[in-house]
């Protein structure tokens, strides 16, 4: 089942790459759309077959591969990776559909996108450390080429090279850690085993965890390992920026939780306070840097860094609520970031600039971009954590879940949430409102192929904001199990959750039989 998600895009990529030069870009795009649509439907089918109550891996597949180096073809999906599979499928479809590629080398372009999709899928479902690394590295070259060749900035060469170097170093560090785990652990294999590192001394675990933190921290990214991100996101074309920010960054956070928290739960508790502080600093830095930007794409890129800080805070706290919030934040951030990058891409394509000082009055219904501007307002609100949208639920869960463990970093992140509103209000006020200059307002119409992805992402933002349970119930049991392995952290324990679960089912919170003291106060009998 899971192999389909890897094999189909790889084989399709090879097939498309070998097509004759007579195929037009439109034909190749159509072909790719069919393939990614199939992958999307297959992912939906996986969701339907997935049992949320089971906390272990499902749909497992195993085949010995290169045993001599310890590489086995081992796949599995659980509540942590399943939402990310869905996100990957969705955003790959968006990336292919949103732009009708019209340049040269369409075969190479779409092949690389399919390889990127395969790499990310493989990384999310790999149950072998070496296999994970393989897929992790598989992403490097396609994304490098996608930025270097099809980037939309003068600095695309510089940005792509920086991206390559940073993520290559990230890969080296991760590989070093995995190799050490395999060689030093009692199992002596690369198979993913939460118990693998238990036999190692605390110092060894600390070193390995630190190496993993740095490696995945580059990918997320965290301060001060972030400098590749703004350049790469800005240089990349909008569809590639969607993949970079929407999915690739989640690989870093996924890796951190799966391999950092998952393999070193005891040591995680030791480094957690430091991680919480780094998370808060990342959030602050991202917000302040975004406020200072004049390029709206760069503003959103820095905003992405800030939101990674929330994820790190939630992961550091490792409470049931915060970890659930982390999963939700990964998905919600992916959706919101994709929406914002797509809209900014449309604005740039129609207006010709991303400069905050030049953009004005796009909400104008006659000659502006009213729908795109309205959705930009929605995206900005979602990113700022306005209630009713998916961003709010994710941030709220993280902040509420983290407060008991790390109150001060949590408070700092709450303030950053307000700062997010600052730069998004600035963005929306300058670009959407004001007077549209008729001397320049001869913008082409927005086509339905450009509107549709924005509408889909906006609908998800709204729906999941109103009903986040549709997303969280896949991950709750898995995150609860991950949390139980982490020793109790310093600080007063948070309120026990109803039924012992980080449940968003409000009827449980108001359950009169609950022993958590959350019973509604009863009026005295008259």
């Amino acid at each position: 089942m899971l192999s389909v998600l890897i094999a189909v895009p790889i084989i399709s990529a090879l097939f498309i790459g070998l097509l004759s030069g007579k195929s037009t870009a439109a034909q190749i795009r159509q072909m790719t759309l069919v393939i990614v649509s199939f992958l999307g439907l297959w992912t939906i089918w996986l969701f339907s077959q997935f049992n949320p109550a089971v906390t272990g891996m499902q749909f497992t597949e195993f085949m010995p591969w290169i045993r001599i180096v310890g590489l086995d073809y081992s796949l599995g999906v659980d509540g942590l990776s399943l939402p990310l599979l869905g996100l990957n499928a969705l955003l790959t479809w968006i990336a292919v559909y949103s732009v009708a590629y019209s340049g040269e080398r369409p075969r190479l372009y779409y092949s690389l996108i399919l390889l990127t999709n395969a790499g990310m899928t493989g990384a999310f479902i790999a149950q072998n450390l070496l296999l994970f690394f393989l897929f992790y590295e598989l992403l490097l070259i396609p994304l490098y080429l996608l930025i270097a060749i099809w980037g939309s900035s003068e600095k695309q060469g510089y940005a792509s090279m920086k991206f390559l170097i940073y993520t290559a170093i990230s890969g080296i560090l991760i590989f070093a850690a995995f190799l050490s785990i395999a060689l030093l652990s009692s199992s002596g294999s690369f198979a993913y085993n939460p118990q693998a590192a238990q036999g190692l001394s605390q110092t060894t675990q600390l070193i390995l965890l630190t190496v993993l933190l740095v490696g995945f921290g580059i990918k997320m990214p965290l301060i001060p390992l972030h400098t590749w991100l703004p350049d790469a996101y800005v240089a990349a074309s909008p569809p590639i920026a969607i993949l970079l920010g929407g999915v690739l960054a989640k690989l870093g956070t996924y890796g951190l939780i799966r391999f950092g928290l998952g393999l070193f739960p005891d040591t995680w508790a030791i480094v957690a306070p430091g991680l919480a502080i780094i998370g808060a600093i990342t959030a602050v830095y991202g917000a302040l840097a975004a406020i200072a930007q004049k390029d709206i794409k760069r503003m959103v890129a820095y905003s992405s860094i800030g939101h990674m800080g929330y994820i790190l805070l939630g992961a550091a706290a490792a409470t049931p609520l915060s970890l659930l919030g982390v999963v939700l934040q990964m998905v919600s951030h992916g959706i919101i970031l994709a929406l914002l990058f797509h809209l900014i891409g449309v604005i740039e394509a129609k207006v010709g600039t991303r400069d905050l000082d030049s953009l004005n009055g796009l909400m104008n219904p006659i000659r502006g971009l009213p729908l795109m501007s309205s959705l930009l307002v929605l995206g900005g609100m979602a990113s700022a954590g306005i209630p009713g949208l998916v961003g709010f639920v994710a941030e709220f869960l993280i902040l509420q879940g983290s407060f008991s463990a790390f109150p001060i970093p949590t408070l700092v992140c709450i303030i950053c949430s307000g700062l997010t509103a600052v730069y998004f209000v600035t963005l929306i006020n300058r670009t959407c409102f004001g007077k549209l200059d008729n001397a320049t307002a001869y913008y082409p119409r927005v086509q339905w192929s450009e509107r549709t992805p924005a509408l889909i992402l906006s609908a998800l933002t709204l729906l999941l904001g109103i009903q986040p349970n549709w997303l969280t119930h896949w991950s709750e049991p898995t995150t609860n199990v991950m949390v139980t392995a982490v020793p109790d952290k310093s600080g007063p324990p948070g309120p026990p959750l109803p039924g012992g679960e980080a449940s968003l089912a409000f009827h449980k919170l108001m359950d009169a039989d609950s022993t958590n003291g959350l019973q509604p106060t009863k009026s005295p009998a008259r």
Binding site: G361, N364, I366, R367, K435, L436, N438, A439, A441, Y442, R445
Partner: protein, 429 residues
Amino acid sequence: MVSTETKAKLPPSSHPYAEVIHRLEAGGAMLPDTPENLMQIIGLYKAYAVPMDFYWRDLLYIAEREFLNPLPFFKYFLPKEYLDLHNHYAGDDADLRIWRGEATAHPELLAFMQRGETFKMPRLFHHLWHDRINMEFAEMCMRAMLWHRGMGGQFDPYLDSEEYKANADRAIKAYFKGNPVMLGIHQMFPDLFLEQCRQMSYYSNLGLFWEIMAPVFFEMSDLYDEGKMTSVPEAMNFLVNGIFAIAGRPIYHHVYIRGECYEIIPKSKGFMWLYEAALPYVEAVFYRTAPFRGTKSYNAQAKQVPPEQKDFHYGILYADVFPVGTAGIPPTLLMQDMLHFLPPYLVEYYQKHCRGESDMLIQLGVSFQRSMFCVTSAVIQALRQALLYPLDDPNPKHLQANRAFFEQQMDRFLRPEARLTDIQRQEYR
């Protein structure tokens, strides 16, 4: 007759608008002579003329019949009498037949009054839904002329004369005969209804002005459709010739009260259409008007509006048609009216550019701006012809005088808000 061919005997002008001045000296207009420009201006003249046919009739109705009605709820409900009122410059019985069409209300206007943008229903529902001709635009033009006043001519000073006051007083008393309250108010505040009467006189002025412009525009449209108008200078010359032909049309204000006619401004005063209506109208509405409500502060300390009214620059020649709100008289009302009567060739043209039907209002607004520059060019050429020298005058000093006049006119467009530079480009839509 304005000659379109003349040998240049002067060195090139050094004015920033030298190209436009040279075009004027050659008998052209401020608007470049291109087939696209011609199509736009003629199409807009036709689209403008149909609502204008309503405007002038209703303006006269209000000036002559509504007069000082304190509750003029139905002033836009034009009675059949005024719809059937013969235009003096159209029809078989015209004083001077400018348009070969009918003298009564235009059939497209009548059709629109029946259906509006929706469907046929009682006129009151159309009115309440604002699905009608935007007569408010005409009233704002009138009010611009009233507010600015002092723009030359005899008509305006006459409104302050004793003779006018006496005529107005007689009409006011006759109108409010049997109404002790209103008569009492008139007794206590004689200037109140006098000022209202002046406003009504301007209603009449504007109505009589547009009574001529409507058939002029209709005829221009018909000539274009017949292939007899082939260039912008030809269109401008038609306007110039029309201006001279009807320059002497009397401007007056008669009020009909209970079957009796009160001549507040009699025809015998000899106020002429060109000097008392056309020129003040162009000055007040094309050049000056006033900033759109709420966009500028009139506080003298704020210095947001010019201290002198003559320096006001909020008319159509300076308007940023899009987004609306910067023009003194909101062209949206007129643009919406014109949208209903666009000729098919213009609709097709607009559908191919910019956002097509979505922003047709804006496109036609810009075309309207071009057309008003053509009208202004005609006025400038007519003034030059009346006050100065022919364009093919052999005397260089006379040509220099002409140039000085043109340069003086172009100086009014040196401010950044002026649209003269924009209309030189076809891409300005």
